[in-house]
C-alpha cells in the first residue's frame, strides 16, 4: 500500500471493531494481508459454485415440474457424470488447498526476532513482560493491562476495548510474542495483526508479528474464559523504533 499521497488523500485505517461490522479490519501485517487475500480467493470459487448449483437446482425444478414432465425418467446410473462430478470438485479443492497451505506454513515461519514480548493471560486481565533488558531474575519491565470501565471512558475512547496500559511495540520490526496463561485458557487475538493465539497454562505459544505501519490495534480475549471474558481487551500500540527505545528506557527508570 503506497502512502505517497496521504497528505492529499488522508487515510483512516480500520484497526478496531466497528458496530455491525461484517468485513475485515485493515491489515497491518503481511499475515493479515495474506488472510484477507486468501479469503477473497476462496470467495471467488465459492460464488462460482453457488451460482452453478443454484442454476442446476432451479433448472431441474423448472424442466421436471410434474405438469411439464408427467412421466419421470428412470436413470439409475451414468458413469460419465459420476467421473465429472468427482474429478471436478477435487480440482477445485486443490486450487483452494494450495494457497491455503502456503499461507498456513508461512505463518509458522519464525524469523529471528529482535524483541520478545510475553503476554500472560489472567482472570481477567493481561500481563505483559518485556524481559530482554533484564540483568537479574527480579527486575523486569512487567505491567498489567486492565480494561477501562465504561464510566471512566473519555470522549473518543472505545467501549470495552480501551485498556490502561497498552502494549507498546516498534513497527517494522520482527517481534516474537510468547503467549501463555496463569490460570485458565485465554486467547490473545488482534484482528488487524492477523494474530489469534491460545494462552494455555504450561505452554509457551510462540507467534511472530511484523507490523507494517504505526498505529493502535485493538483486540479481545478470544477463548471463553469465564464471566468477565468480554472485559479483557488487548491494545497494541505500534510506534517508531526510537520511540520504543525511549518508552522502554522510561519504563525501566
Amino acid at each position: 500500500m503506497s502512502l505517497k499521497n496521504t497528505w492529499l488523500f488522508p487515510i483512516a485505517y480500520c484497526d478496531a471493531a466497528e458496530p455491525w461490522q461484517l468485513g475485515f479490519q485493515d491489515a497491518a501485517t503481511p499475515m493479515m494481508q495474506g488472510i484477507i487475500d486468501l479469503h477473497h480467493d476462496i470467495f471467488f470459487f465459492l460464488i462460482i459454485i453457488l451460482i452453478f448449483v443454484l442454476w442446476m437446482l432451479v433448472r431441474a425444478l423448472w424442466h421436471f415440474h410434474y405438469k411439464r414432465n408427467p412421466i419421470p425418467e428412470r436413470v439409475v446410473h451414468g458413469t460419465t457424470i459420476e467421473i465429472i462430478w468427482t474429478i471436478f470438485p477435487s480440482i477445485i479443492l486443490m486450487f483452494i488447498a494450495i494457497p491455503s497451505f502456503a499461507l498456513l506454513y508461512s505463518m509458522d515461519e519464525v524469523v529471528d526476532p529482535t524483541i520478545t514480548i510475553k503476554a500472560i493471560g489472567h482472570q481477567r486481565y493481561w500481563t505483559y513482560e518485556y524481559s530482554d533488558y533484564n540483568s537479574s531474575d527480579e527486575q523486569s519491565l512487567t505491567f498489567d493491562s486492565y480494561m477501562i470501565p465504561e464510566d471512566d471512558l473519555e470522549l473518543g475512547q472505545l467501549r470495552l476495548l480501551e485498556v490502561d496500559n497498552r502494549v507498546v511495540v516498534p513497527a517494522k520490526t520482527h517481534l516474537r510474542m510468547i503467549i501463555t496463561s496463569a490460570d485458565v485458557l485465554h486467547s490473545w487475538a488482534v484482528p488487524s495483526l492477523g494474530v489469534k493465539c491460545d494462552a494455555v497454562p504450561g505452554r509457551l505459544n510462540q507467534t511472530s508479528i511484523f507490523i507494517k505501519r504505526e498505529g493502535v490495534y485493538y483486540g479481545q480475549c478470544s477463548e471463553l474464559c469465564g464471566t468477565n471474558h468480554a472485559f479483557m481487551p488487548i491494545v497494541v500500540e505500534a510506534v517508531s523504533l526510537d520511540d520504543y527505545v525511549s518508552w522502554v528506557s522510561n519504563k525501566l527508570d
Binding site: E129, D132, D137, L204, N205, L252
Partner: protein, 89 residues
C-alpha cells in the same frame, strides 16, 4: 558487549540493546516451553562450571529471561533454594 552488563544500577536502553533469544532449530514447535526450560538449565549448568558472570552463561541467562514467564522463573528459583528442583544443577 560491555562487562558491566550485570550491574543492577544500569538503567535505560539504546537501540543496541534490542536483541533477544534467537530462533533455535532444536525448538521448532510453536510451544517454546522446552526452549525456556533448556535455557534455564543451561544457564545453571554453565554457572556451575564457569561461574555466573561468564560471558556464555550471561547469554543463557538472557535467553531464559526473555523466554520464560516471570512466575515460572520465580517458582524454579524457589525450588532450587529448597533443593526440590528436578534439574541436575
Amino acid at each position: 558487549m560491555k562487562d558491566d552488563d550485570c550491574a543492577p544500577e544500569k538503567k535505560g536502553i539504546t537501540a543496541d540493546d534490542l536483541k533477544t533469544a534467537p530462533m533455535d532449530w532444536r525448538f521448532p514447535a510453536t510451544n517454546q516451553a522446552k526452549h525456556c526450560y533448556y535455557s534455564y538449565n543451561e544457564f545453571h549448568k554453565c554457572a556451575a562450571e564457569k561461574g555466573e558472570h561468564d560471558k556464555d552463561c550471561r547469554k543463557y541467562a538472557r535467553y531464559y529471561r526473555s523466554l520464560c514467564p516471570g512466575h515460572w522463573i520465580e517458582k524454579w528459583n524457589e525450588e532450587r533454594a529448597n533443593g526440590t528442583f528436578p534439574g541436575r544443577y
